[in-house]
Subunit: 432 residues, 4 copies
């Protein structure tokens, strides 16, 4: 199996983290899936991802002290594999795991994803539970020195042992049986552990063996640019920042990150700008709120994510989606870039502005995005000569050229506008 | 002008540094050019590059104390531009600069290049000489805090001043008048100075304005992988290591570097593995010698450079080239990869071996290079399944497939061989 | 000569930098010296120090562009030694240098100091001027790669050459002839250059040879704690921070620095908290102002500097000293700690408060300083048991004990008070 | 209790690690103690220290895989406190712990020490065992993110919780009951964990409360020089290097470390050069051997350790001590420096030699040590003027002065000798 065929364009979906933190349950997943199927699927949104600690009892119940309760009870099978906590995922009992929930999601025409942590449960290592297909135990393959710096659940694996590969194989085998389409593996992307690279390769091999095209997503960022070739060879998407939230500073920072990663987007290989914190978020964090981003800031985020071709994962509780937000997420002409543009690059950036371009060669279209990074309205424009030089075009404007700004749908005479602070314009230039 | 059109395939040529250090003169250049034209040109070798301190009087005369004599005399025009030292380049007198020498090189059907240091001569700043087309002096645009850590000749520029761009413009204007085809700018690639990035962009702009397609080569390495997008946007080649010499450790280290840069080779954009220290080298360094690399090590170097598609710049004194060395440099089937393969990537590497692959899609050819990095003979081979997976091929061998090892010219039954220490094999696999 | 005998207690004086920057002249120095002699000398203040670029023509004349004009004209003798600029120091003409000014300062019963930059003038290296007592020139001993990161005047020395020592010897010989009592050498303390350590030793040797007990002060900070033994062995005082200005954040930061250096204060060895930015400062910087520090903040600074036993160097223009400021600088009981206490250490520190203690064993006195680092009034106190434990005392309070707060002069019943934000109290505890 | 009174001079003793690794047992301890009492006690040797993992079952039994078996069985009480493994320390059964063994050691006139790891057993956190005097469990106070990078036994403590202090208090209370005189706490000295500093303070407090003067020794090194004031305030000795073994490179490296720490030796405060790997060592490591250090190298080690005044802890199996080694450890005139010299400092050091000095002011003695760091015999000497300057002496030699080299016992005419490679001379200079 060629992993670059698993996701021919950047994945689009929803993830439970931004709203639910560790508290998500089966009904929440179903409700969001149903909403997506009804309202968003036709625009390309298709993944439903259950994020962190679906295996933990009491997850989120001591939120004032801990995001992740240390030394807490988890659901686990005889082979040291974590299972959904039956208190929150009742359909998982009797060894069915996530299969019933995945089946439901599939029945809606959507895809099903789960979050995992690198490694093997610490409690398995201390109890010495088994590893499927081997005569070893978790105590033998757990690396007692490899822990996650922000979550207390797992030990990394002793990558020198073949039973460690067997363990990852047994995980992917189980997930394939459940019908999982997408695995977001955490504590692995930014190489906090010495063994990160080897564990990425082991996960890739396990997926290759399992027979199901499971998209592999790596977290958390920032990914290491020296290791771009590793991510590109073994994974489908990798987080290029730490967690992104509804704070303009986080969006501004993403321009730094996209700048660095601009030449690393290709079919099956997507630097990931992280989930989109629009709409209602934060309940599991005990800070439930409507996003703090202004509409202009949201437009900038969507513009950058789409022209850069980041995966798009919604953080909002979908069942509470307001019309204004939904409109931002369903602009077909903007989302079109995700599937039908390429070669995105930064033309210029300073503290006041950023300009990005990309092209759709087949359709003879050039895209230009202008971002106002400053703190007041600004007239921004692109130097046409610089643009042509950059794109190796002899000319751009001619009588037959039309310029349309995709958020407003209006026609323009040139690539310039008076843009509010933190706002953006996305221009499509094409010959008629 | 689109700089990516200046060098459609990796440049091939000769550079004066490895043999002459700072002592090269006009006759040396002519002799090497003549040899290249007669013996090597037909294999694609075409650049003749005059390396460092062609402007210095007495360069190399205090070699026991200094490689580069500090505070020494240099030849300079009224606009603070360095000129060839007339004692070593007599044809340059009367303001003709390198024009006569370039003309000679062109007359042989070859191309002419020169080395420069980032910035403006220190002596110009202390004397306050002029900047062409402006009313400022070198004192105004020199950055007193920006010096090269290993050469005492220049100050970097004060990049915030427009006259600094004017100075670089005046340089490229002069070089274009001389007929220069290739500029290797030193002290800029590994960002030792805060202003490196801006100076790269300024050099690019100066070339764009000068009207001549001058290939821009950046030194010294290691280039910064975070800045890959800068090199790719503004330069043609950039050194990915510090100076490479005839020591196997340097070759082994290049596998580290090529691994990191493997996804950054494209038309007009070449990560540069540095000059090839074969044949007679070291005279200017007062260590004249036949290369210390064994033939097997030389085969490995050529194999890696060619499959990776590094620029190839010879360090050897060409007039003393022996047959064995020349044969390594004129294997047409190996050099063919430089112009007709792409997508080179490392399949596997450890302390004992490395395996690289690339393809020629149009011709339906797969290349595989096996390197023995160990200290004794070893049987190396490639796992065909791993290779197919990596290249997204369904199968590789079939009845109609031929496998040829390009250094020996022999046909093989599979991709494996018993390889001497530090040696390599380069296989071409194609359907008949 | 034992350098630890040059300054038996922390030096106290005035330095021209905070008010004049590079613009100080002879009359300024005389006026400040006269003021000190009349008003401050009796409290122990005695050094008058001419700070940076007394050798430069036009210093400060292009302040909007440069603090230090690059490639400007300097006054220099035939032996590459900088001399006072005669435009600003008219008494220095005819080779008299600073001798007349030093004589004037001495006539007031004060001591005279000057600032120098590590190394030799760049212009000397480019012109090849001589080195006294040798047949070498500045070109031979200047290190073309050793420059200051913030001042363009000098090259460091090639410390491997004995003529480099001869140059420093010639400097100190000249300064001794002038009657210099104190040399503040800049660009050397924080080891920005590879050769810093060797140049410190060379300066020490030059002073030892010159026959005059010249106090050696090193700048800028932060000094490197690994090298404490070097400073202690070869210098008298060394800056433990970067430049300190009239900003509370700088004072707070000093607690970090004093914490680290607390066990490194001894006779002839003084970690230096930098100049005191009280009163009128900033004219040469074109930001003339009364200090931005509140009185409470000034009390905190004086309390910390005195209990820690930092050298005290005034930055204020003395002739404009107001009564309130002068009172802070002439509290005899507080200044007493500088000469008659030792063993200062931090008892406790967090974001809200700091507590320091020291003792005067001979007099049977304990000092305790309480600092309110918070942003509002706070009741601060010391735990007597913790204090006794820390000082290895069996008890502290008894019937015959008196507690006096030295800023207010009031008697207290215990070591506690309600202290304004950023303020301090300094308690003296003694048996009657 | 003033911790600086716990060890008025550098501790001298024996530690089980170098010979036994994790395998030491009760009989081994007794045998070594008996040997020390009989042969070494009269020279000042007095501590017997049981090193790492005395609480582990099967320690050392899987030495080909692990030095410290992860997830293995340990002996622990109801309050999460580790107890001696009864299989190796039979006298410890029935809750007696180390009390019987300590009593035996004390009966010989010696002192008893143990090694501990920072923190609380991981298994206690996973099982939720209690904390003495509190209603919390190990799960509540263990910090799941704080682990040792080289030993898998413990979690660090959650230093923000008062029950964490209670746990350390309960440890020291237990050790005081046992009769422990010396605690070597590991995984704490080089601040591998964020909480190291706080845990050092907590240990200090626990000792202060326990009522017994337990010497606190911190490992492993290298200690952080920025934190010198912390070690000096709260501990008695702290390792200034990583583990030292019988390899000359380790000894040479110690000169780097002693240079940095030379001004930090005082009563109760000892930078620790680590155990002395002489005689028979390495059995527990399955590399039993006579030390690889030559006699000259051993002389150098002893000379440096003694003039620097490092604690001296023997690594050799004492019962196998040969005469030649024992002689090195019982030279009274050399060991005299440990108790009766001070102010040791490095006079000079380069790749070839090192010179250290110290003084015994009361006795009017100067000590000078010459070390030959080169690879062949060398004539080394000290410049008397430099020595006098350094020590602030007016003169050194006079008619009544005697110079004795302490290893040979011979009288010399001056401080110089022809010294074998890696060897040393230690001179005592005194007026008769």
């Amino acid at each position: 199996m060629d992993k670059n065929k698993f996701a021919l364009t950047p994945p689009m979906g929803w993830n439970s983290y931004d709203y639910y933190d560790t508290t998500v349950n089966e009904q929440h997943i179903k409700d969001n899936a149903a909403y997506m199927a009804k309202h968003l699927k036709k625009y390309g949104w298709e993944y439903i991802v259950v994020d962190i600690e679906w295996y933990s009892y009491g997850a989120g119940s001591r939120r004032n002290e801990y995001q992740y309760i240390p030394f807490g009870k988890v659901e686990m099978d005889e082979f040291s594999r974590l299972l959904p906590c039956p208190e929150r995922f009742p359909s998982s009992v009797n060894g069915k795991g996530f299969a019933p929930l995945a089946e439901y999601v599939h029945s809606l025409g959507l895809k099903f994803g789960i979050h995992i942590m690198r490694g093997i449960p610490r409690i398995a290592a201390h109890l010495g539970t088994g590893i499927k297909g081997t005569d070893k135990t978790a105590s033998d393959i757990a690396n007692a020195y490899s822990i996650c710096p922000w979550n207390p659940d797992m030990y990394g694996l002793d990558v020198g042992k073949q039973e460690a590969q067997a363990y990852y194989d047994s995980l992917m085998e189980l997930y394939a049986e459940w019908g999982v389409d997408f695995v977001k593996c955490d504590d692995i992307c930014r190489y906090d552990a010495d063994t990160s690279e080897q564990e990425i390769i082991m996960l890739h091999r396990a997926i290759s063996k399992c027979g199901r095209p499971i998209v592999l997503s790596l977290s958390p960022g920032p990914a290491i640019i020296d290791k771009a070739w590793v991510y590109e060879k073994y994974a489908n998407m990798w987080r290029i920042t730490d967690d992104l939230w509804d704070d303009w500073k986080h969006i501004v920072n993403m321009f730094d990150r996209c700048e660095i990663w601009q030449n690393h987007v290709s079919e099956g290989c997507y630097p990931d700008c992280d989930m989109i914190p629009f709409g209602m978020i934060g309940r599991g964090f005990r800070k439930e709120r409507k996003t703090n981003l202004t509409i202009d800031e949201q437009v900038s985020l969507m513009t950058l994510w789409c022209i850069f071709r980041s995966p798009l994962m919604l953080g909002a509780e979908l069942t509470q989606l307001d019309d204004e937000t939904e409109k931002l997420l369903t602009n077909e002409k903007v989302l079109h870039l995700l599937k039908h543009s390429h070669g995105a690059k930064q033309l210029r950036r300073n503290e006041k502005e950023a300009v990005w371009t990309s092209v759709d060669d087949e359709a003879g279209i050039v895209y230009v995005a202008l971002f106002n990074l400053g703190e007041e309205f600004a007239n921004l424009s692109v130097d046409v000569q610089e643009l042509c030089d950059s794109l190796s075009l002899d000319f751009l404007y001619e009588s037959q050229t039309t310029i349309v700004e995709l958020w407003s749908g209006k026609r323009y005479m040139d690539i310039s506008d008076n843009i509010p602070k933190h706002g953006a314009r996305l221009f499509r230039i094409e010959k008629q």
